[in-house]
Each structure stands twice: as C-alpha cells, then as structure tokens.
C-alpha cells in the first residue's frame, strides 16, 4: 500500500505525514502470511517494511529500523523462491530442480513463520503503533541525503558497469528515494521506470543464484535455461545502464 497523499502542497513544510495506513497494512500482511500460503502478503510485508524504514529515516529515527530490516530479510528467501517458481514457464526447469526449489521453499516458509510468531515481531508491531508523524520540514534533509546517495551509487555504477553489485546498490538507493518522495506526495514516475529495469535484472540474477544453488543432475534443458539466463542478464544489465543514463537528470532534478 502506498501512503495516502495529503491535500496540502507536498513542498509545504506544514505537511505532516502519518505512517498509520502502512503500519496497518503491515499488520494485515503479517496476519495473512501467517495464516495461509499467500505470496502477495509476503511481498506486501516486505514492501511495507521498506516503506516504514524510509519513514523512520525521514523522521531521523534510528530505533526500530534494524527490526524492520530483520523482518523484511526474514521473508527474502521465501519471496525469491515464490517468484522463481511462479514465473518459470512449464517445462523450463526440469522436475528435479523444481522439486529441490520446492524443498527449499518449504524450509524458507518454516523459518519465516517462526519469525512471524516471535516476541520481537509482536513488539515491533506494538512499537510502530506509537511512532509519531513527521513534518515535511524535518524530512527535507534526510530526503536530500537519499537523493545524494542515488547520485553517488549511479556514479559508481558508471565507473564499473559490469559489477552487478553496483546495479543492486543503485536499485536499493532508488527504492528508498522513491518511497521517501511518495511519503511526501512527490512524483516518482521516472524513478519507477528505472526501478523496473533494475528490478528485471535483479530477478534474473536471483534466479541464476537459486538455480545454481540447488542440487540437480546434468540436464540439457537446464544447461539451455542457464545459458539463456546469462544472455538475459547481460541484456538487462545493458538496458538498466542505458535507462540510468537517460533518466538520472530527471530523477535527481538536475538542470539539463
């Protein structure tokens, strides 16, 4: 769920941003993910954690951010495997690989359920219920820092475009900047487009990682899938780099 935008002008220092809608969404995602197999709830939980992390950054708060990161990361493996298993076309992966991935998913779900049932998760939800609103004035300096981080990560990517870790770092910095701007009711069209490019690359890399991790016999179908995946990664990497060059001025609101 995206934060509800206020009617006031986003740039006005008088704007007070409240996190309760996203907090309640997080509570609902936790309940749904705990009670049933619901990959959307798992995804929603991760997004809500990331949005709330940025909200705390805008309020210059440090406490609870480690807890949000812990909760978000606890869902990472489950989310990766859900995406991989749901997005693989019929016959794309051999039966043994699918079976191994499904076993990994079962373990990931069990670990995730332990986290959801933990005292720390309950305490986090309780604590978030008390977090005060943030004024746009207070959020201004953290917002500038998040934009500056995007600029630095973008420069680092251009310095070494073959290093996927730099794509990943830019993707994370962009996500935080987007969420910060959304909290403040600002336009994020350009960021979203670039996120799509970097997200597609990340999905392909995650897919490669998981497929290489699971045990499997040699398979011509798998070898072909792996080869296709590597080509796809190269293509998506080039596309993301191009997208960053094309949109960075707009995203960072620099003069043309």
């Amino acid at each position: 769920m995206r934060p509800a935008h206020r009617e006031l002008e986003p740039a006005s220092d008088a704007v007070e941003v409240d996190c309760s809608a996203v907090r309640i969404a997080l509570q609902e995602h936790v309940a749904r993910a705990r009670d049933a197999e619901d990959s959307r709830a798992v995804h929603g939980l991760r997004v809500a954690c990331a949005r709330l992390d940025v909200f705390l950054r805008l309020g210059r708060r440090r406490a609870l951010r480690d807890d949000l990161r812990w909760l978000r990361r606890s869902a990472s493996n489950l989310r990766d495997l859900d995406v991989l298993l749901e997005s693989s076309a019929a016959g794309e992966l051999d039966a043994q690989t699918v079976s191994s991935l499904s076993t990994e998913r079962t373990a990931a779900r069990a670990a995730f359920l332990e986290v959801l049932a933990s005292e720390r998760c309950e305490a986090l939800l309780d604590a978030l219920a008390n977090v005060p609103s943030v004024s746009a004035q207070r959020a201004r300096a953290p917002l500038e820092r998040l934009a500056e981080r995007v600029r630095r990560r973008g420069e680092q990517l251009l310095d070494a475009p073959a290093e996927f870790e730099r794509h990943h770092a830019l993707r994370r910095a962009l996500r935080r900047l987007r969420y910060a701007r959304e909290w403040l009711g600002m336009d994020c069209t350009a960021i979203r487009a670039l996120q799509d490019s970097l997200g597609a690359l990340n999905d392909a890399l995650v897919r490669e990682t998981w497929i290489s991790r699971v045990e499997r016999p040699a398979s011509s179908a798998l070898a072909s899938a792996t080869s296709d995946s590597s080509s796809l990664v190269q293509s998506l990497s080039a596309g993301a780099l191009h997208a960053w060059r094309a949109t960075r001025r707009e995203i960072l609101e620099l003069p043309a």
């Binding site: 708060r61 440090r62 406490a63 609870l64 951010r65 480690d66 807890d67 812990w70 005292e119 720390r120 309950e122 305490a123 986090l124 309780d126 604590a127 219920a129 008390n130 977090v131 005060p132």
Partner: protein
C-alpha cells in the same frame, strides 16, 4: 560482559485519550538525555547490542543512544514487563544496554546483583539514570560497577 541498564528519559504526562505506550519524551527530557549520552561517550561506552521496550518513551531514549551503538538495536517486549530468564538469555553480546521502565529495571539489577528481585528498592533509578554491571549475566553473579544519575553523567559529558 558489560551491561548498562537504563531507565527511559523524562516523558510527557499522559493526555486524555492517549495510550500510556504513546507518551513521547519531552523536549527537556531529550536535551537532558543527550547530555547523559555525551557522558557515556566520554566513558568510552560502545554497544554491541541495544535492547529497548516498545513503549515510545523507551524507543525515543534508544534513538538518542544511537551514537553509542556499533551493533544492532532490537525492540523487545521483555523490557515492558517484570524481568525474566528470557530477557537474561537475550544478553548474548559482550557489551549490551537495556532501555526499560520502573520498577522492572530496579528489579532486574537487584536480581542480577543479589539474586533477589524483591531487593529492587535498594537500586532506585532516576529517569535517564544508568546502572553499569559487569560479569556473567546470571542472577546473583553480576557486579554493580556504578549507579550513575543523569546529573552525574551530564557532568562527566561537560568536562573536557
């Protein structure tokens, strides 16, 4: 291990309709506790783990202690109730601070130092006060190195 037990800083009085858990620190409470943190910093306190209760006044106190944290900050409801074995088991780093509430912080210190929780009255905390314990985190086996008031820590922080 080194264990700092901290009572939250000065919080606002409750207003009508407000949950007790949502009471924030006052401006003066924040300012005074910033002085406490400066004192702790001068004493070279570095934390591997900071545990705090989910109540807003403890969350905001933990926020102010961020400059001392080199490891993780973690919220736990174990600090919003009487001290338990589960809380002691969570003390799994060499240097840990806990931010909680009365009477529980006094009970915890009494328990760890004497083995008897009912001696809590012998270990009173002012808001923003700090007890510094050392040794194994086992009831009756920790040493109380010092019990510092906020004023003492602010004075330490002011000296150059």
């Amino acid at each position: 291990m080194k264990l700092l037990v901290v009572r939250h800083a000065i919080a606002a009085d409750p207003v009508e309709g407000q949950r007790d858990s949502a009471r924030p620190l006052t401006s003066a409470g924040k300012r005074k506790f910033e002085g406490v943190v400066r004192g702790l910093k001068r004493l070279d306190v570095k934390l591997d783990l900071l545990l705090h209760s989910p109540l807003l006044r403890a969350v905001e106190t933990a926020d102010l202690m961020n400059a001392l944290v080199e490891g993780e900050t973690r919220v736990t409801s174990l600090l919003a109730r009487a001290p338990s074995k589960a809380l002691i088991e969570a003390l799994d780093e060499p240097s840990v601070a806990l931010v909680g509430h009365e009477p529980y912080v006094s009970e915890l210190v009494a328990w760890l130092v004497t083995g008897e929780r009912q001696l809590a009255r012998g270990f009173p905390f002012k808001k923003g006060g700090v007890a510094w314990l050392e040794g194994e985190p086992v009831p009756g086996q920790m040493t109380l190195a010092s019990m510092l008031t906020p004023a003492q820590l602010r004075a330490i922080g002011r000296k150059k």
